[in-house]
């Protein structure tokens, strides 16, 4: 089922998430944002913003993001977990 692909490191994944948020919210400030804070609420992302975020994230990391994966892109922690493949059981 799972195809072999290069996963980003946790650090690279974190950087990509920040870059993808900044793609839609250029002045997003992550300094006071907890890893477990939902990004959509924190950065006021509507569904169109989220689409732009997911699109950028997929491009930056080369990790394919299916629509069914959207619920895993909620917080910094869940995004990094998804992108690095943590919890995939492979």
């Amino acid at each position: 089922m799972s195809t072999q692909q290069t996963r980003p490191t946790a650090e690279a994944a974190r950087g990509a998430v920040q870059a993808a948020v900044r793609h839609v919210v250029p002045d997003a400030d992550f300094d006071d944002v907890d890893d477990d804070t939902p990004s959509r609420g924190e950065f006021e992302l509507d569904s169109l913003d989220f689409l732009g975020f997911a699109e950028t994230l997929a491009t930056l990391t080369a990790v394919p993001i299916a629509e069914a994966d959207y619920p895993r892109l909620v917080t910094m922690a869940t995004c990094v977990g998804f992108l690095t493949g943590a919890g995939d059981g492979s």
Binding site: D46, S47, L51, E55, E67
Partner: protein, 217 residues
């Protein structure tokens, strides 16, 4: 910007005798269709529910022209096309509602592209004068920010405003069987000088009906 909004909204509440209607719309058919369609597509080509809601509103508005236009000099003037105003909140505060021109002639895909383009340009301060000037009916999708329903204030001289609340899972009965379905609260604020509740009710029923047949949108 705050002053402009204050002036317009005060005028709206002072001059427009609003009436409000609301109905709950089952979105399971629309969302199932959307998910199936999105499954094989790259993110850039995927739809979001907001595009379906806006598309259904555009088609319904074309079918109910009494709600599409302006109240000027004590009379209703029909809009010269379905130019849907899209309420967009700006990150630094404030609100704009520029028009998607001839929205009833756009496919669902084109509707989404138009929404994305408008949101990006609205937030970058690059809207055209015509987009700001001529919406014939405004749509607000405040549900994206979490509220379950929105009873809007009409943007004068328009005569109607449509609101969509958050999509929530609710117990729902179909043919006597209870299930859990995604639903949204659809509301209409309309100018009673231009239309009566009967017209507004038929309009909301049309939007609901369209959303039950997403493949035809």
């Amino acid at each position: 910007m705050r002053e402009t909004i204050a002036r317009l909204m005060a005028r709206s509440k002072r001059e427009i005798p609003h009436y409000y209607l609301t109905t709950t719309v089952d979105l399971s058919a629309a969302l199932a269709w959307m998910r199936e369609r999105n499954a094989d597509l790259p993110i850039s080509a995927r739809l979001v529910p907001a595009a379906l809601l806006l598309r259904a509103t555009a088609v319904a508005t074309a079918r109910h022209p009494a709600l599409n236009g302006f109240w000027v000099d004590e009379t209703f003037r029909p809009g010269g096309g379905v130019h849907l105003g899209l309420a967009i909140s700006l990150r630094r505060g404030g609100l704009v509602a520029p028009a998607i021109h001839d929205a009833d002639r756009l496919s669902v895909i084109e509707t989404l592209a138009a929404m994305r383009d408008l949101v990006v340009r609205a937030r970058a301060g690059r809207l055209r004068g015509s987009e700001m000037a001529d919406p014939t009916l405004t749509v607000t999708n405040l549900g994206e920010q979490g509220v379950e329903s929105v009873y809007g204030v009409i943007y004068p001289p328009q005569v109607a405003l449509v609101g969509f609340g958050r999509v929530v899972e609710r117990p729902w009965s179909v043919d006597g069987l209870l299930g859990v379905r995604p639903v949204t609260t659809l509301t209409l604020a309309a100018d009673h000088r231009a239309t009566d509740g009967f017209t507004g009710g038929r309009y909301l029923a049309t939007i609901d009906d369209l959303l039950q047949h997403p493949e035809e949108l």
